[in-house]
Symmetry: D4
Subunit: 248 residues, 8 copies
């Protein structure tokens, strides 16, 4: 019986709490957005959830050109299928990514059949606004997190204090886990790419696997342990380089 | 013993949670509103509940003429008993409805004995503000939801991106249900018109029937299964055609 | 053993929830306020609790003259011991009360040994701001609530749409109760004056007695049943005469 | 086995609730802050938690000079290891402290190896903004709280209504406790310095010891009982000298 | 809409807990019993619930003669409609009752249309087994409970230590309540006959009315407050005259 | 991804409560039993769960002959795949069934590849012990439950008071439900055969589908609503024809 | 207002859980017992609660002679007011105690106005049954528990393996606590005699004071911290000198 | 600060639930047992917890000879420190083990300084009672569980249907986990020997490490995922080779 058979009787693994959320594929609601033609969005995280950013899965059956972001809004895209193109000439294949600063005249387009993850947020400028950034996960060197060679982090954006968000790929060998239950004022949006394990969020424990998304609100206790025969990987964003007293 | 006998001892089916609410008739509080004469309101949903709109049952023993909405506020009315009239000359009988754009000079009046559902919200304009719309549910063609002929949706407002809210009638054959537990950033206000069944909201499950109202806040997991011998129908609104980063 | 003996070991009946609060005497914290000399305040309700108003017990060992309220802030005082005086020449004995409109030059003073309840809130003007009002509960005629002669309401302020708050005395014969579990968008602040019984707030049930205070937030389901040998009475405020879409 | 061994398997004593939080050392996340070189911060409390202030542990391996606070932001520092220096020439050793008013040109620097607690908040001025204050806990005379000689409070800032926050050291003999479960609209940030016992926050009870931090939000019921063979001491801040209707 | 309309969608007021149960009419299951012809039983309480006795509503459309109780089993019947007859010649009209000792040759019969409450339990003999007892509530003198004239108890069985159960009628004036929350090792079975109010059982609070049944297991905290315009009455049994170390 | 992929990370729909249990296929533990060769058992319900009977799924890769039941133990078998044979010469194909009384010399054998449901319980004799019964669901006439033609019950055992358990097939048209939330002292073991919907057990609501098993303990509130496009069917047993005071 | 005023509105501190109970004075139910004349009992703990013993407060307005315990039942009495006498000639004043072995012909009598604590349990003999024991707490030498001089234990019964229960007085200096949260298969019955503090039972935390009684069932996690200005003392029993596989 | 410092303030990781328990070292209560000299026991699991067996940690400072088990009681010992000797001449070093059948005349002795795990249970004979068994974990060949080479099981007792309990060592590579959440009628007692990870029991999730013990009652959902850098191992018993209808 397919995974989603029980959905019609009210079953879901999605769970929405005050400071965190687990969002699983069988409960995704695909909608349209003003200004985007032929494009379906599943907004998994939004300011209405309590987040400081929006995160959507985007699916383009047809080739499309995206409208500009609203004034002051920055974008990060991460391609999961097919390819995206920027008006700069950059082409993003699978696991290609791009940061588009706010109020930029760079145009994003998607080839037919493309799927990508879209992050949008109100950019918090401190000095000069950074330039656009493009790249591919495959080209990014990983480093061990806190010296643990079983946990690798790949940072997609430069370590430049002008950026107000990080976008990283985290990879865990089976049996590896975060070294402790973190609590901090920064938020995260996360998409599991490979593998799975157990995520602790606040006092809830969730079995998770590829395709699951998570919102971690400010200060929520958070921890992941990777299980299974193969490494686990996830895409994760963090609002960063900011004072906790910064305007919100 | 009448349904409401236990109310005097503190019984209610109403349940108010952080992201959703069930509001049942035995707990309705009928009040007056400034500027409305001879009119009783039961405000079931309001911004104080966390909603982006207000939804009231309105009862007019006498014929009345409604005051204009406050500046920037749009209205939708749905007649459940008697009749309403617009200064445009339109008359709304039972299951007649009207959208009145914000800052309009159209006047709404109610005949003696009329009852209607009133929605008010701060309109979110994108380009031209749409014109007023009038109609009757009986005249609206339904379409199958996601291809399931057991679920019919009748859209009372045109599919025009200038509108920021949808108002629909959903009809379920007995045994039909939503195909999955939806979670999305849009909100809903709902009034059961016929039939009944089980509503799942977040991790709560509620038996519901005609007369019950529901608020579904942003991202709350939501699902309905229709039971009984006859079809179930509900009136439902959704804030729509908007980005999750739109001002609130 | 005195009622408060267990307080030193961490016992309290006070209970603070998201949409309501019970505040019992053994947990009152008496503080000072800028501009008030020789005056002790127990702020039981405040905007930090989620309320649209502040409610305090005030105790004056010495005769004092109160500073003016901040700009735009209205006041209601209810004397529970000794006497208060207004610069208008009105004197409020026990169960005397006064409404002082915002930005008024009327001065309030308290005689030595006076105790009173102080409400302050940002006044929501609709047209002319009403004049100050003084009176005594003993002089106010009661009326039966919803025709039930066992429940009497005494309205301390005139039925004038210019007022944005009501202040009432509710009296219940033993065995009387609210006719149903109310839910509405208006808030309440309540102080039990006499008697006692059971208060249902949301899904909590509280035994209450004279001296207990309650905050009922918007839409919280609420009900009271009066028990004991003698009538129960409480002082209650309600924000009123306002649209649920009014600015907050 | 060291205290933190189970952290890697998802164990923590930290607990984040709507109106309070316990933050224990094994879950501290050490980050950097824009403008601070060679300095690690563990922000335990922040506005994102619901607080009106930020509280951080700060660790400087190298000697550093701190950037100025943002406009309108006041600071309080409390040295727990090594020493801090102000441009006024004051030097703060262990348990030395300083208040730096907003928009001050006083510069703070830390000697290599220093650790301190940093509080920052948007100052709420009423009249003249107070001058900077420096001192050492050892020089502050304690007074018995509510006449109980087992509980001593040392007030680090002068009793001057111009201050909008208090910073105190509370000391408890073993067996001493707060006299009742307090509830009030003021908030607290707390760091246990010595000893331990049981903290009641809302309806939760926490064993606590030196190194644990607590946020107490507005109105949260709160109580501490000191146990063990030696006195317990904590550093605690309170927003103070303000009306509950003050802007936030 | 009739009270039970929502039952078909899964609604019930019945609530079964480890040490107590509320059993409301819409969830009664009417069954047959071996040896009884033409008789319907709703067993509300049984040893499978944890009780030391069984309590059933019994309905006889036809005139029937009941089979004897099983060996060692005592019976108490309370007529609520029509009439019952004993082979002793006693006739029980409405609110007539009878105790039949274990292993008795007294036969019970019911007239067509009779309804009655049946209690059965394994009798715990101490010395001589008492004789059968018949009577009518109307003939029993009440006495004030603990001297409170608002609470009357009518004891249907004699104050003879040979009995191991009590069967009483309790009457409450509106506003009367049990003087405290009782906890004891004896159990109760209860049927509300008139009126209503609030029953506290353990930490649950239930609005109750005529027709509701309650099981109170050993030691469960229990309290009732009577509300409404008319007196409340209930039938209640208690296992009694026994040591807590008696065989069970 | 297959339904059971998340099981390895700790996911299950199975839920074990004090008075009921849901047992879903991904958590079945297949074991052996003394005396049975080449046979795998998944015991879903047992006296250790609190039940008065055991219910197992049984799978025979090879042809086997079952050992006799223990003394005093009755059996009911229901074939779900392949075929079973009795020493009486009866052959049970799919949805064939047999009751074997306690202490019988009838032998049960299974053909290779057979799967069946096995019930075992301590028989409660009242007079003569009934003979063995064989049959097939297809040959059993259904009757409408409580006159509702959408709910059909097929009783596999005769309506003879000598039997102490019932075994029935319940069929629900889509949209049909039990007429109310039942509570009674009898227990149930249930296996969903077709379709699905929502099962309420106590205060829990479970989406269920074919393959799910349920234990309903004594007095547990219970209700089912059938959803989907096709009828739902389940196999259900009930201990019956017994007094609640019968020995257990 | 007296401590028990709120009891009439349903307030109690008593709390009954599956493995522990707190029993506070305002909920005591005073009953009679067969064979005891003029004697009131409050049975706080009994086998019906899950305990292996019964514990009662006993109050004798008149001089009485107690009936013998039932066969096989041992008794321990602890005098809290007035005096008790044994037929051996021993007289127990306040804090006098006696152990009476099962099936003894020693008679217990109480002087008018006496109050005492009565424990009864089915004695578990291992070899010779011990003789009766009498004494007074004042005569018993205390020893430090686990070497902590702040915690003193006085053992009222000899350290003889023939006894199956211990009865001890535990004394705590303010600030002293049990060294850890104990969990073991033995049970306790406890009566606070002096002082107070916080008792942790399972995951519940209770402020407790003199007069409170506690049942700790097998394996329940348990801990006490003593607070206040004066030492805390409690009377505590433990079933002891037995294997966990001993018959129950 | 040592791991157990907070224990004196009421902290423990032990958690006792209706169908499972986690028992962590800081809450162990060391007691004596009748007939054993100079021996300390920490009984972590017992029939009073709901288990069908007892499991203790045993510590012998001196050389001792154990008394025989009670009639009908079988024993299993597992040496964790020092050495044990049987009267058969077998010597058990670290990770040596022995099964002693009920009513055996084999004597067990412990060398000074020995520590071991002791299991005792009422043996359930089916045919001949098996002989004693001795061995060492190091000599037992492991086999992959369900074909997963990352999970190894070493069975310490022969695969002989006469045994009614299994005693196994389970070893998990980091990242390995049980393949699904098991639920079955058999119980387990478990002691973590090495490593750690996350144990799900019912709906609770526990970080566990070496030294932790677990009781899993009948049917409790159970799952383990191994984390960390090194393999995890645990000792586990299971009652086995028995029908769910077997006498208990």
């Amino acid at each position: 019986m397919p995974d989603t058979f029980l959905s019609q009787f009210g079953q879901t693994r999605s769970d929405i709490k005050a400071r965190h959320a687990l969002l699983t594929p069988e409960s995704h609601e695909w909608i349209t957005q003003p200004g985007w033609s032929d494009t379906a969005f599943a907004f998994l995280i939004s300011p209405d959830l309590g987040a400081k950013f929006a995160m959507a899965l985007v699916s383009c059956d047809q080739a499309i050109t995206a409208p500009s972001a609203a004034p002051g809004i920055a974008r990060f895209v991460f391609c999961t299928k097919g390819a995206l193109n920027l008006s700069t000439g950059d082409r993003l294949g699978v696991e290609g990514f791009a940061f588009v600063p706010p109020d930029s005249d760079i145009t994003l387009s998607a080839e037919a059949g493309a799927r990508f993850v879209l992050f949008e947020w109100r950019f918090l400028p401190r000095g000069d606004i950074p330039e656009a950034v493009c790249g591919s996960v495959a080209d990014i060197k990983g480093s061990a997190l806190r010296g643990d060679e079983r946990l690798t982090v790949q940072k997609m954006l430069p370590a430049d204090a002008a950026f107000d968000f990080e976008f990283n790929i985290m990879s865990f060998e089976p049996g590896a886990s975060l070294a402790y239950v973190e609590t901090h004022f920064m938020e995260h949006g996360l998409l599991m790419l490979d593998g799975g394990g157990v995520y602790r969020l606040d006092t809830d424990w969730y079995p998770v696997t590829a395709g699951d998304a998570i919102w971690m609100g400010p200060h929520v206790p958070q921890w992941f342990g990777a299980l299974g025969r193969t490494p686990s990987r996830y895409l994760i964003c963090k609002n960063y380089n900011r004072s906790p007293l910064a305007p919100r």
